[in-house]
Amino acid sequence: MTADVDRGGVAATAIREWRRIVSSPYLMLMLVVFPLATGVLMIRIFGSGAARDLPIAVVDLDQSALSRDLVRAIDAAGGVRVTSVESDAGRARAAVMRGDQYGLVSIPPHFERDVARGAAPVVTGFYNAQYLLPASLMKSALVASTATVSARVEIGRRMAAREPRTAALARVEPVTLDVRTLFNPHLNYLTYLATALLPALLQIFIVTMTVHAFGTELRDGSAGGWLASAGGSPWRAVAGKAAPYLVHFVALAFLMLGALYVRAEVPFCGSLPVVAFATVLFVAAYVAMGFAFVAAAGDLRMATSAAAFYCAPAFAFAGVTFPAEAMPAAGQAWASLLPVTHYLRVLVQQGMRDAPLAVSLPALGALAALALAPWPFLLRRMSRLARAASEKRAL
């Protein structure tokens, strides 16, 4: 009897779990096929890296050489493309309402004449701020193109007055700002967003599948067999069950990093060992969380609902699209309970900015804490299960 118990252990439980996984087509789908498919989908969504040539309309009420110059300059700025030049503002507005265009630019009547007279006519850009990214591309394109055409006009005027070109430039814009963009010089969305979305996607799979692994034992009444495979030891039972998922998801996470930094050529600038270490902690934290949900809820259904609430909106709280510092305290508090928040912080610090290790210690510490914190609770719960199972056997 004791020999029997001794034979059980972490390895035996892990092997039992592994057999459960490979014998279930559904689990293979959720552990391998779907994570890979949705991951590839995410990379494809941002494959172009940047949004370009977004359609906008121009209402040209002047139809002059200069107004056409301006339209060409707007096109040349890159972010937007003038897909229609209207002479009627109503038609252009209707096109925005239909979603055909992201905004419209209005060039006033007598534009060329007024420029020549120095009357400084005003070009108006109506941008749709409901779409933030197209709005910011359109604004930059308009700022750049009106500045270019302005400078051209001004230089022409000054040089006719025999002023040197540099003086003309200084008159147009006495103070200029040269902007250097750090860490993601081309504002590439693959670098900015896909690197954050893939871990956010992965955590959904980790939690759902670890909840499933533990919860189905309760649903199907097979917890006794599970405990027996671990020789009746609660911690061996949990560790043995966790091990295959930890290994599998760490492998998937490394594959994800490879897909991003090697295959998709997202620049990596920082410390690979620290990122690798954080990745292991990230996966371990979510495996522990998944188990904790079942331990707390006591059944698969409730645990799945709770887990969904925990991981489905997590990306909104993770602080990438809307930074944590700008969130209200309650939002920040919730965000700090999500491992993905800390992991994405480490990815920025150690994969993008090449920051010193000390900068990442708080985030790494939080990840470690989230990976370890559920364990005492889990083990207590497993001991109760073990007692219940042994009582059942005694009957």
Binding site: M97, T124, V175, L177, A355
Partner: protein
């Protein structure tokens, strides 16, 4: 009629007597309206910390630093002695940008040479980047305009003429909608449409799983008679009724609560909600044939949410998607529903403005209905 009613009643039992389904289709729907907007309540970033490297130490450079600090988007948190020291602050994440005022800045301005400032901005977080960029551009632009106007006035022109002569072409930028560029106002109305779809799909799938589990327990009995089309129509009723309430909650109550309600035509919203719900319910009925257990639907649908957000066209322009992906994404109701509801509820568009999306949603409903009937016919034969 009997078939239709008894199918509706049977499905209503699966939905309204099941705590698991109600948690998703009622509780989650209610709670998400408060939980999801939580991170975005402040709407915009303010006082993002930046560092300044002032190599000029002049009255003008100090004026610029004060202007930058006074801008609502940014706050001067550190004065670094060298560019490399400031760069280290960015790398550490202590500040998000650096403004460098070069030696000779004031002299260049006074002597009529173009003076060049440099900014280094952290692009790790794009919203932070844009906030800092906007703050610095506006601060330096205001200084530049002040310098130019002062020059013209020194030359004897009136203030008005000086303002006009500043630049040959003026530019005015006006937001059409979401005037404050609030982040919550941008994200929340779009995501709410997706929440409606996803909770509905999960609810339909869960009820389907429960139906299968019930069929395994009691293989005989239940609604099997009648044409599958009538049964599908009947089974759709409880969901359409429940989600009509949910939709009015998300399209009327929630926007009013957060103060981003745009008075528009509620009739148009209601008329678009019909094909959106029908397409989603029939898609759910077609999919649930694949879900053998109650929790399967949740597990599968959950992992599609994140990709679907970025196929909805609001966070990432559809123009930037590969063509095949745009075509494939059109098969999901949210892809058409998100932009259409955004235009109706946020931009004051009318039903005619969303005719294209409405046609797609009706086509999806028409396409998924036979698939739902086929799934229903198979389930009817198997028991129920």
């Amino acid at each position: 009629m009997r078939t239709f009613l008894s199918a509706a009643l049977d499905e209503a039992r699966l939905v309204f007597l099941d705590a698991g389904v109600l948690i998703i289709t009622v509780l989650a729907v209610v709670v998400y309206a408060f939980f999801y907007p939580l991170p975005y309540l402040n709407q915009v970033m303010k006082d993002v910390p930046i560092a300044v490297v002032d190599e000029d130490h002049s009255a003008l450079s100090r004026r610029l630093v004060r202007m930058a600090d006074g801008h609502q988007s940014i706050a001067v948190r550190a004065e670094a002695v060298s560019v490399s020291e400031a760069e280290a602050l960015v790398r550490d994440g202590a500040v998000s940008g650096v403004l460098v005022i070069p030696r000779g800045f004031e002299r260049d301005v006074l002597e009529g040479r173009q003076a060049r400032l440099t900014a280094q901005i952290d692009a790790a977080y794009l919203l932070t980047y844009n906030t800092v960029l906007g703050g610095l551009l506006e601060s330096s632009g205001t200084l530049s305009a002040g310098v130019e106007v002062a020059r013209w006035r020194a030359a004897g022109a009136s203030r008005d003429a000086a303002m006009r002569a500043r630049r040959p072409i003026g530019l005015e930028l006006q937001p059409l909608f979401n005037a404050t560029s609030g982040y919550g106002t941008y994200v929340v109305p779009a995501v709410m449409v997706l929440v409606l779809q996803q909770t509905l799909l999960i609810g339909v799938g869960m009820a389907g799983g429960a139906r299968r589990e019930r069929a395994q327990a009691r293989p005989q009995g239940g609604v099997q008679r009648g044409h599958p089309a009538l049964r599908v129509a009947g089974r759709a009723i409880p969901y359409v009724a429940l989600y009509a309430v949910n939709a009015s909650y998300y399209f009327v109550f929630v926007p009013r609560y957060y103060g981003y309600y745009v008075p528009g035509s509620l009739r148009s919203v209601a008329l678009l909600t019909v094909p959106f719900l029908l397409a989603t319910v029939f898609l759910g009925f077609s999919l649930r044939a694949l879900f053998s257990k109650r929790e399967t639907a949740m597990q599968v649908i959950l992992c599609t949410s994140l990709p679907l957000v970025f196929l909805g066209g609001f966070a990432w322009p559809v123009e930037a998607l590969p063509q095949w992906l745009r075509a494939a994404a059109a098969l999901v109701p949210s892809t058409s529903a998100i932009p259409a509801f955004l235009r109706l509820t946020r931009m004051g568009a009318g039903l005619a403005d969303v005719a294209r999306e409405s046609a797609v949603l009706w086509s999806l409903a028409a396409m998924y209905f036979p698939a739902a009937c086929a799934a229903e016919a198979i389930q009817g034969r198997k028991g129920r």
